[in-house]
């Protein structure tokens, strides 16, 4: 029999044991009778020889080796009964634990899904992103850095010794045509090695081969699994058939597996389909637009790979003048994909950890108060032969029971509230990341519950079972266990207040940041403005002239609609994370045109009505007008930031700039106007130097016209205008996929959604912490009042003023609170340093926030103290002195 069977059949085994011993006694008794003893005497002798039947039975049960389990079950049953009879205590403790474990499980489920779970690519830790770095430029600003040019990529691919596979890819927008409802499709273009690098095998057909990259043979397409399902009904015979993208026929060569998307939130999302990327050796080396991914050879370290890439880039820079100033940088894919969300998650993880610690402190406190009433019970058990270890085990079992039930409740809480965490999407949580309560999350939750149970179970268990442990805490020999317990309770309460102080300060700083962010003047008005995003298909609008003509028509129609005040378009709408910049030269200021430190303003293309539609003030000169035609002298408008930077003490109007170096073969362009600064990149980012070109005479070195945002300022009837506008657009071109319309207010809100969400989440956790701490201090003071009832009664009988009693109790709470606040202050200073990147216009040591938070905490704590303190003043001395 295994121990499990022995445990399972213990009832039966007990019976057999009794029978076996009975048989033994009977035989012995009979023998003794045969020797001449009386029956009674024989029985006594036999029992004596055996050494007490009950004791032998006990020892035999011990020999079964299942004793621990039996004890455990017994303790468990006892624990259930104890909790059942104290529903108030049980409910408070369970709720506290459920909140703590629930918050932790929820945050961990996100961490597990993003930071811990490997990417859906083969050996994803060998995968790296490569980006070009520009010397002296803004290398570390954000993810994009910059991509690779065709020839630089091809050279790096040929010359390196460290990559097993290397591939380039870029975005490519298409319109799916030849169907009833033309659909705008997010496509990607990739070189042959792309899917091999990621380790993705198609579910149907094949992926790209080098031959597909030859111009003329590149009209093949790979479908994503989702497009295959939606548009082609998961048809297995789809390979070999033809679809039309921008009216050009493409042959379907394969279908990709589900969940194989490379997604970087805010930079590139899931693609509906892929076409081959055709590269050209003749492309300029300064045109860096390729995203590059590579798989490092086994046995080669990231550092070695980085060295090799840097050497090759340095060699290219010395060979080709237009490759000068570019370096390469390798970043592991996992790090790159989770770079934005990682610090946020770690801060939240820290926050829920603190909440759980406070919860532990609270439950430990509760249990100690609760356990003080159990001294008699434990004394009786000890007298009956229970060892301290045995009693400790029993108390710990009760704690573990609480922790496990609380943990299970917490998991339910997390599962139901987990959807709230999808708000993290705005912080850079990929929409491809599924947050699930899988095995690792449940295992984490279970382990955390057990740990929690031990953590909050140990102090009360030690308090009950031994003066030995407390002996070391005793300051004087006369200190009773009760007083030592009070000291531990005070310590726990102070700790809770300190931890809440940390969380509250963090939440306060984020709140202040958010408020200062809301007070930022973006430089434009979102009120009553709507944005319409156009993606003009190349097949209907093949050149800039036709594209511009389309927008002119749209704007004429829009301007004539009732309820429209102004309408204008821009290529990169502020707060949408789109931006372009280019090198320019300034005619009258050669000192700015050095080879190392030339101006690279943000560049935009606008239509005449744009500044009015966005309520961007015209400071000087004029805005673009319809007279700025392609034949008129080129005109450009700069923002105040540009004017201050380059024309500080002179009139910017009439100055001349050109794109590229001073000797570039591009025309000099007149500055005709100055407009107000706009927070283009983000609300929290200071306005940069910007220039606006006029759309009819696009002087930029590329054509952004296919993708423009139309901004319409209405008199307030957004809905009606939107409908009328879409009708007009449909009338203009019925084949155009219907553009997306979004209120500017939404774009504004989206741009700060991440900060808002992080602030809210941390505030919720801080609130939980404060409530728990308040409950904690309330419990401790209540208990001290109850245990001092007699003393207070005597004081009152001897003539103490009730107000003094109140003051005495309040003082005790205040001392605990102030100690906690001061300790918490130190912790908060450390925590806020971690928060630095999430703050805006608030110092991590902001005195106002810290003072306000400390005050708030003190007020809450004093309220929690006041309730039991008032009860102390109502004590009737006669009753109190008689009470035991």
């Amino acid at each position: 029999m295994t121990w499990w069977q022995r445990f399972w059949r213990r009832k039966q085994m007990d019976e057999q044991l009794e029978k076996e011993l009975g048989f033994h006694l009977e035989l012995h008794t009979n023998e003794l009778i045969a020797q001449g003893y009386t029956l009674e005497e024989a029985r006594r002798q036999a029992c004596l020889a055996l050494g007490g039947q009950a004791q032998v039975e006990e020892e035999c049960r011990e020999a079964r080796g299942t004793r621990w389990l039996e004890d455990f079950l017994q303790d468990l049953r006892y624990g259930f009964r104890t909790l059942w009879h104290k529903p108030g205590f049980a409910a408070t403790a369970l709720l506290t634990i459920a909140l703590g474990i629930g918050a932790n499980t929820a945050i961990f489920s996100v961490i597990s899904a993003t930071l811990l779970r490997p990417l859906p690519f083969r050996d994803s830790n060998q995968l790296v992103f490569l980006s070009t770095m520009t010397r002296g430029g803004c290398n570390e600003c954000w993810h994009g850095k910059i991509g690779f040019s065709d020839p630089n990529f091809l050279d790096l691919q040929e010359q390196n010794n460290v990559f097993e596979n290397m591939a380039a890819f870029s975005g490519a927008g298409f319109t799916l045509t030849g169907v009833e409802d033309p659909q705008y499709i997010k496509g990607g273009a990739a070189t042959a090695g792309f899917f091999a690098t990621l380790g993705i095998q198609p579910v149907l057909g094949r992926t790209f081969v080098v031959a597909d990259q030859q111009p003329g043979q590149d009209h093949v397409v790979l479908l994503s699994n989702s497009l295959w399902k939606q548009r082609f009904g998961s048809d297995a015979k789809v390979v070999g058939t033809t679809i039309h993208l921008d009216t050009v026929p493409y042959t379907i060569i394969g279908v990709l597996p589900p969940g194989s998307d490379l997604v970087m939130p805010g930079h590139y999302g899931p693609r509906d389909l892929w076409v081959p990327k055709v590269l050209s050796r003749a492309a300029p080396r300064g045109s860096n637009h390729l995203e590059v991914i590579a798989r490092i050879k086994p046995g080669v370290t990231l550092h070695q790979a980085q060295e090799d890439a840097s050497i090759i880039m340095a060699r290219l820079a010395s060979q080709y003048p237009d490759a000068a100033g570019f370096g390469a940088r390798l970043v592991p894919v996992q790090q790159e994909l989770t770079g934005d969300i990682r610090p946020v998650l770690l801060v939240l993880f820290g926050a829920v950890g603190l909440v759980l610690l406070i919860a532990c402190g609270n439950v430990a406190n509760l249990q100690m108060t609760h356990a003080s009433g159990r001294h008699k019970e434990i004394a009786v058990r000890t007298a009956l032969g229970a060892t301290p270890a045995r009693i400790m085990r029993q108390l710990l079992t009760e704690s573990l029971l609480l922790a496990l039930v609380g943990g299970a409740l917490g998991c339910l809480l997390a599962a139901s509230g987990g959807k709230l965490l999808l708000g993290l999407r705005s912080s850079g949580l990929s929409s491809q990341t599924a947050i699930t309560f899988d095995l690792p999350v449940l295992a984490y939750s279970l382990a955390l519950s057990l740990l929690t149970g031990i953590l909050f179970g140990l102090p009360p268990a030690l308090q009950c079972t031994g003066s030995r442990w407390y002996g070391s805490l005793k300051l004087s020999g006369r200190t009773s266990a009760g007083e030592a317990g009070a000291r531990v309770r005070n310590f726990l309460t102070t700790g809770e207040i300190a931890l809440s102080m940390v969380l509250l300060a963090g939440a306060g700083l984020l709140l202040r940041s958010f408020i200062s962010l809301l007070q930022v003047d973006p430089g434009f008005s979102t009120k009553n403005a709507i944005a319409v995003f156009f993606a003009l298909p190349r097949y209907s609008y093949p050149d800039a002239t036709r594209q511009a003509a389309f927008y002119r028509q749209v704007m004429e129609q829009a301007g004539a609609l009732p309820g429209v005040k102004a309408a204008g378009a821009i290529d990169d709408l502020p707060l949408t994370q789109n931006s372009d910049s280019d090198r320019i030269s300034i005619a009258e200021h050669p000192q700015f045109n050095g080879e190392k430190n030339y101006p690279t303003p943000q560049e935009r293309l606008v239509t005449p009505g744009y500044f009015r539609a966005m309520s961007i003030p015209l400071i000087d000169g004029r805005a673009c007008s319809d007279s700025d035609s392609s034949t008129a002298p080129p005109a450009i408008i700069v923002n105040q930031g540009f004017a201050h930077a380059y024309f500080a003490n002179e009139n910017p109007i009439g100055q001349r700039i050109k794109f590229g170096p001073p000797d570039a073969n591009s025309p000099w362009i007149n500055v005709v106007g100055v407009v107000g600064d706009v927070r283009s990149a983000a609300l929290a980012t200071m306005p940069a130097a910007e220039i606006y070109a006029c759309y009819h005479q696009n002087t930029l070195r590329y054509n952004p016209l296919p993708h423009m945002y139309l901004v319409v300022l209405t008199t307030g009837s957004d809905q009606a205008v939107t409908h009328a506008l879409l009708d007009k657009i449909r009338a203009l071109d019925s084949n155009l996929p219907l553009p997306q319309v979004q209120p500017m207010d939404d774009i504004y809100a989206e741009s700060i959604a991440a900060r808002r969400f992080n602030m809210l989440l941390l505030s919720i956790f801080a609130l939980m912490a404060v409530v728990l701490a308040a409950v904690g201090i309330y419990g401790v003071i209540s208990y001290s009042v109850v245990s001092r009832t007699q003393e207070i009664g005597i004081r009152l009988a001897l003539g103490a003023v009730r107000f003094h009693i109140l003051r005495m109790i309040l003082w005790r709470g205040l001392a605990l609170t102030l100690t906690g606040v001061v300790i918490g202050m130190a912790g908060a200073l450390a925590f806020s340093r971690v928060l630095r990147s999430m703050l805006y216009h608030v110092s991590p040591t902001d005195a106002l926030t810290f003072t306000a938070v400390a005050l708030l905490l003190a007020i809450v704590a004093m309220c929690a103290t006041y309730l039991p303190a008032r009860r102390a003043t109502k004590i009737d001395p006669m009753v109190a002195m008689r009470s035991e």
Binding site: M1, W3, R6, Q16, L17, K19, E20, L21, F23, H24, L27, H28, A49, L50, G51, G52, Q55, V56, E59, C60, E62, A63, R64, G65
Partner: protein, 115 residues
């Protein structure tokens, strides 16, 4: 019962039980009696520790037990040796033999023989 009695050295009870059981299936009371008789009452078998020891050996699968009828028609729990128990007994018995021989050799040493 005049002869002086010896307490069993630690761990030898298991060995003795295995040896008795090796002679054939036997119940607890018979084991106690057999031990006492064979050792001519020198070995004091503490009956109180006999049963826990039997159960321990059974759990370690050195002994197997089944309920059988005695000659008098009563049901009793009879223990017998398992193959594993037999191996264990042989190993333990050999070990014990070596130990006692060594101890006797040392005790038989004449005074001064050590020099």
């Amino acid at each position: 019962m005049v002869a002086p009695k010896c307490d069993l050295p630690q761990g030898t009870l298991d060995l003795l039980i295995l040896k008795v059981v090796a002679l054939g299936p036997v119940h607890g009371y018979a084991i106690a009696q057999r031990l006492q008789q064979v050792s001519r009452d020198v070995v004091q078998v503490p009956q109180g520790s006999l049963y826990p020891a039997l159960h321990r050996l059974e759990n370690r699968r050195l002994l197997a037990a089944e309920w059988l009828e005695t000659e008098t028609g009563r049901e009793a729990k009879f223990y017998r040796l398992t193959p594993k128990g037999r191996n264990h007994l042989e190993a333990e018995a050999a070990g014990w033999q070596r130990l006692t021989e060594a101890v006797s050799l040392i005790l038989a040493m004449s005074e001064g023989g050590a020099h």
